[in-house]
């Protein structure tokens, strides 16, 4: 074998922060296209505004910390793109501004910045905006009603199917409309088919895995099955629960954040399942009609202990496997054999 000396790094991967973030940016483009189709160019303005604010905040915080600003990894831009998708298309620019600033300057940079944050910045910023402006955050424009660049009182705002579910009523909307996104709701959270396509794209690109989204939706479905909020057949109730609110967009973009999620597969499944179940549980007892973001932030805080347990479990399994290989179990000989041997 011919050995060749070379300077490190010795293991290279085509994946980098930039490629992963670029994939996520590409995955959000169809959602923005659908938002423009439903609500007009205001959707693009919100997205662009979010990207600019987040990127500037990211760079400014890095400067304050004495680092060289690096916005080329697009992490700030991804946060800026996701925040408007989690809010109504009628959300004010001040709401986007504060959500982005909170997400970057409070949830991300104080913990060390990219790769070291505990909480998902987009989720934290949007949750803060929901707390500060609950009326604006949960009032949605009607699809196909074009919104002006500056929303005023003339814009008609209605509640989403999630609100009907929170009151214990069945939404007066066809499930097919919910699948196609022709319902009032968060700007990027209603187009279920497009979201699932984005998820497939990200899985094919190996930016995200299947374990966490599947476990998340499984946990949410199981909780919805056990504790239905509507008087409807079980599967219909589960479908309404999954397709309303931010569950699907959370499964695609937020729960798969590689920084704030566990590292090994089994902990990922546990984390995803727990987040899904907690999201539906919070819908029962929470104050807001949509509580996925709060459930995600709570689970983000537990990721470190899930990782520790995951490592202990992995080591234990590896040890057991090694013991099994070195000392395989010996089967006891039959009585006839013993008698024959003695003779």
């Amino acid at each position: 074998m011919k050995l060749r000396t070379q300077n490190p790094p010795h293991i290279r991967s085509r994946e980098s922060n930039l490629t992963m973030m670029t994939d996520i940016v590409i995955a959000t483009l169809p959602l923005y296209a659908m938002a423009v189709y439903y609500y007009g160019t205001r959707a693009l303005l919100l997205g662009g505004f979010g990207v600019i604010v987040s990127s500037l905040a990211d760079g400014a915080c890095q400067l304050l910390a004495g680092k060289i600003p690096n916005i080329r990894d697009l992490s700030g831009a991804v946060t800026g793109l996701l925040i408007p998708l989690l809010l109504p298309a009628s959300a004010g620019y001040s709401m986007i501004l504060l959500a982005a600033l909170f997400g970057i300057a409070v949830a991300k940079q104080p913990f060390g910045g990219m790769g070291q944050n505990i909480f998902n910045p987009a989720a934290a910023g949007t949750a803060f905006a929901m707390i500060c402006w609950p009326k604006s955050a949960f009032a949605y424009p009607i699809p196909f009603e074009r919104l002006p660049a500056m929303v005023d009182d003339t814009v008609r705002l209605v509640s989403s199917p999630a609100y009907s579910l929170s009151l214990g009523g069945t939404p007066n909307i066809d499930l097919l409309d919910m699948l196609l996104g022709n319902v009032p709701g968060p700007m990027g959270g209603t187009n279920i088919l497009v979201l699932l396509t984005c998820l497939i794209f990200l899985i094919v690109r190996k930016t995200v895995g299947l374990a966490m989204p599947a476990a998340f939706l499984g946990g949410a479905s199981l909780m919805a099955l056990l504790t239905p909020r509507v008087d409807a057949p079980a599967l219909t109730a589960v479908a309404y629960e999954l397709m309303s609110g931010l569950l699907v967009i959370g499964a695609v973009f937020l729960i798969n954040d590689p920084v704030t999620s566990p590292k090994r597969t089994l902990p990922k499944i546990f984390y995803g399942f727990g987040t899904g179940a907690l999201s539906v549980a919070f819908r029962h007892i929470g104050r807001y009609e949509e509580s996925f973001l709060f459930a995600l932030l709570v689970m983000n805080a537990t990721v470190w202990i899930i990782d520790v347990w995951g490592e202990h479990l992995a080591h234990a399994m590896r040890r057991k496997n090694r013991e099994f290989k070195t000392n395989p179990p010996v089967s006891e000989p039959a009585e006839q054999d013993v008698g024959a041997a003695q003779k």
């Binding site: 001040s94 504060l98 409070v106 104080p110 803060f128 707390i131 500060c132 402006w133 609950p134």
Partner: protein, 188 residues
């Protein structure tokens, strides 16, 4: 820290909380410097606790007309009698001279007053849209500021800001002293 975060949702509440803390801390600190180690350690906590409780009750009697404010402060009024500043000045580090003890206690309470006033004014103005109970038009209303978690975040940022200012001042002092030392060495 809970004293400066949870009850200070308005400027008046912040100032009143500062007054209660000062009433609990300053007399106990001065008394501890006068009494010294004459009280055995076993009895010092109940003794100084009783003194601070008495002062807090006296102040509460004086402001009993502000029923709504006192209700806003809630359980933090009786808790102020055993605040950390009083415990440190009276029990952990009793000063030998009454003037030193008075100086320490007053400066600590003044620092608390500054932070409480700033935080409570900011949270009332941006969170409730008023200042000292007078409705004002804030450029933006951030209702989340009246929640305790916002108070903790604001305290964290204030602390970071003061540490940054501190490091700049200390850096300048160090550079000045090095320059002086170098000039002295050159002269020699």
């Amino acid at each position: 820290m809970p004293f400066v975060i949870v009850p200070t949702l308005s400027l008046r509440a912040g100032l009143l909380m500062s007054a209660f803390l000062a009433a609990a801390t300053i007399p106990s600190a001065v008394l501890a410097s006068l009494v010294g180690r004459k009280i055995p350690p076993l009895f010092s906590l109940p003794f100084y606790g009783a003194v601070s409780t008495g002062c807090v009750l006296l102040l509460r009697f004086c402001v009993s007309g502000q029923a709504l404010l006192l209700e806003d402060l809630g359980v933090y009024v009786p808790l102020a009698a055993f605040n950390g500043m009083m415990l440190e000045l009276a029990l952990v580090h009793p000063r030998r001279r009454a003037s030193d003890a008075l100086h320490d206690a007053v400066m600590m309470c003044f620092g608390f007053l500054l932070v409480a006033a700033f935080l409570s004014a900011l949270r009332e103005f941006l969170g409730s849209g008023s200042l000292w109970g007078v409705p004002l038009t804030a450029p933006i209303r951030i209702r989340g500021l009246v929640l305790p978690f916002s108070g903790f975040i604001l305290i964290g940022f204030l602390s970071a800001l003061f540490r940054r200012v501190d490091s700049i001042i200390i850096g300048r002092m160090l550079r000045a002293s090095r320059r002086t030392a170098k000039q002295g060495g050159d002269a020699v």
